[in-house]
Symmetry: C2
Subunit: 435 residues, 2 copies
């Protein structure tokens, strides 16, 4: 488990994770433009992740939101067409529900395809930032050659930084499997600048693997990672998770490759929660002995998304009453006529509910409160002169979690969900910019 | 629509609503006791609502939470036994998941039954306040005679005040139907003191009506009122909604009686949201032309419970991107392959999304922001020296709503849901008491 006492220490660790697999290059270009909607100068970064040759070995998962952004609509076509040669991402503007958004998206993909001598259908687009605004297409076309000229085969870190919006720090994770390598970057989770969150996840590998096998393994990895996190129960219109393989290095053992994929995805998923807007505590909720895993997942999410549980954890309050309330509110639908005397609840390994009654007293409460404090990523600072709250650090100080275990005693279904607390810093990030 | 410029004005209006129907009396008793768990002096109010004679004409709806409080367990037995003579409510302690909670609850009901010369099975209990603590039974038994001595047949207002915990003001609503009368009180919605929210709703009427008919009409009224509000998507372990009839006054028209029940329930439901913890804006979300009313309800709740929508409204930000995101996140499951060009969204009657694109520009945005400001119940005040936020008023200044309409254009299902924004005042109420 990592612990970083400084931003420099965190950055050194990121660099150690960032080596690109064989067959990939990364380039970025930051530029200023005049925003039509803001009526003032703004800046955008273009990020290009290019394969040396287009690959058939990839898997892309897109948001299921019914109001998808233009890059999702275009990306689905790219994925269906069979080959990907490069990824093109811009931050600042998400290109969702903007007039002529799809045409604008295609124009940028066409331009990159020409520069890289790939087909237009081989460019996977991604956009993150404000909803409803139009992409500055002429400026993007003008700046793309500089991004391509910047391509290098050493580090993915510039891409991890290039796709950031209000993320406090870049997110990079990697694993080696024999001589093959899996490296992943991610951004998002929580509200962004000041519109919508977008989760963008890109994994690169040089492992030799068939398309169908990669797709199945990636879906498995995503199911137990990105699909198990929740910051605010909301789902972006622009989420993309993709893995691309350059197919250049033999893998000794496919089980180990699956484990590596799982680990990179889970580490990035927890990074997303840890850097979620206003997140002070990362909370792990494990539900065990449920009727089935679907029921366990549902109940864990009910607890994770309960504002009353979230605010209690923010306040370092081991509030067992709120946990039981959140657990019980939909239980009838997944576990009818549940006998609560079968239930055991633990916080940080300590039993707080058993045989149908809470086990709480002043001493236990204060020990649990200390446990919650020790898992906090920072201490809330006094608000500024305008009453706004800002986290005092912009790197992850540690990777400790608040561990909540719920054992239902009725079956063998289990699920783990990672969520967060609900803080003044979240409200400042998502409400105070306007009021 | 009411508007109150002072607490005195609000109170005068409450008094005008408070006349008891025939056949009922109300008494309360406030007393001090030593809390075992807090290890300090605390105070509790007992509220007794008594019929002159036990009635068979009643309907009780209880929480479906799987961790119900002792008064819910006992109350279900009372409802099943066929007659109710009185309601006994205590605030301060909710008697949920406490050792011997059911025995404690029965002991208080037995004592009141003896004082009123009713059967023990004719007393409907209710408790609201901290979870996990034990009721101070000896003190309650000692104080009950004073509550009974206090019984009067004039006003329900003392009961509306007696069941409050951290509610800012009592909630009373009434309607007349010919010579018959329906009066209702409510408390709750949002976190309480500092544990769990409990919605307690009691309606009294003197209308002559059969039990089955009253039950059906009450369920209809609750479906379009209390089941349509959400403060934090959480459901209490102690919720009770009940209506009792003394059966003494003939009703000229049962349709008018249903309308009166509906109106009292809807007015109280909106009062609960308006007085929800930290609520600054009450938000009405109407979804129309959905595949069916169930789908409309689900989508309206998704929008109402979205933290990103809630924080935008807190900040007077007419953030259409967040509305679309929240609407779209589960739409695939209730309205597969939805064509967004059929969708129209209005805020305050103004169209902000149509033909698949947002209609926003600086002028529209600032007008909508003014609209949101005008619907605010108060202006957020600077935090106190400890960084805590407190609403500056403790009465409802007006009854204006933020009106959001979503027209899907695919069917004839519709639903209205009432929710709220998410504010620093909510976080202070629910997290800051401990951190």
């Amino acid at each position: 488990m990592n612990e970083f006492s400084s931003q420099a220490g965190h950055r050194a660790w990121l660099v150690s994770q960032s080596q690109l697999p064989q067959g990939f290059r990364v380039g970025t270009r930051k530029f200023a433009f005049d925003s039509v909607e803001l009526k003032k100068a703004s800046s955008m970064t273009l990020t290009v992740i290019a394969l040396n040759e287009p690959t058939e070995a990839f898997s892309c998962l897109f948001t299921t939101n019914s109001f998808p952004g233009a890059p999702i609509l275009v990306g689905r076509e790219v994925a269906a067409s069979g080959k990907i040669g490069a990824i093109l991402v811009n931050n600042k503007i998400s290109n969702v529900c903007a007039p002529d958004g799809v045409e604008d998206c295609r124009a940028t993909c066409d331009s990159l395809a020409e520069l890289l001598e790939f087909q237009s259908t081989e460019i996977l687009p991604g956009s993150t930032g404000v909803i409803g605004w139009k992409l500055p297409v002429p400026e993007i076309l003008e700046q793309l050659p500089a991004a391509v000229a910047d391509l290098q085969a050493t580090s993915i870190l510039p891409a991890a930084e290039g796709i950031m919006t209000t993320d406090l720090y870049p997110k990079v994770r990697s694993q080696n499997v024999g001589d093959a390598r899996v490296v992943g970057i991610a951004k998002g989770a929580g509200m962004i600048e000041p519109n919508l969150a977008t989760m963008l996840v890109y994994l690169l590998t040089d492992a030799i693997i068939a398309k169908d096998e990669l797709d199945a393994m990636f879906r498995t990895a995503v199911r137990s990672s990105f699909n198990r996190i929740t910051i605010d129960s909301d789902q972006s219109t622009s989420d993309i998770a993709a893995v691309l393989s350059s197919g250049t290095v033999a893998v000794p053992d496919m089980d180990r490759f699956q484990s590596a994929l799982n680990q990179v995805c889970q580490d990035l998923a927890l990074d997303l929660v840890r850097n979620g807007e206003g997140v002070k505590h990362v909370v792990q909720i494990a539900v065990r002995e449920a009727p089935d895993s679907e029921a366990a997942h549902r109940l864990a999410k009910d607890v994770a998304n309960s504002p009353l549980v979230q605010t209690a954890i923010c306040g370092n309050d081991p509030n067992i009453g709120r946990l039981l309330m959140a657990l019980g509110k939909n239980m009838e639908s997944v576990c009818p006529e549940y006998d609560v005397s079968n239930c055991q609840v633990r916080i940080g390994g300590r039993i707080v509910f058993e045989n149908g009654a809470c086990i709480v007293n002043g001493e236990v409460e204060s020990q649990l409160s200390e446990y919650l404090k020790s898992a906090a990523l920072y201490e809330t600072q006094a608000p500024d002169a305008e009453g706004k709250f800002h986290p005092p650090v912009n790197w992850p100080t540690h990777e400790r979690l608040v561990e909540i275990e719920i054992i239902l005693g009725v079956g063998d279904g289990s699920a783990i969900v990672w969520g967060s607390d609900r803080t003044h810093e979240y409200i400042t990030e998502n409400a105070d910019y306007r009021s």
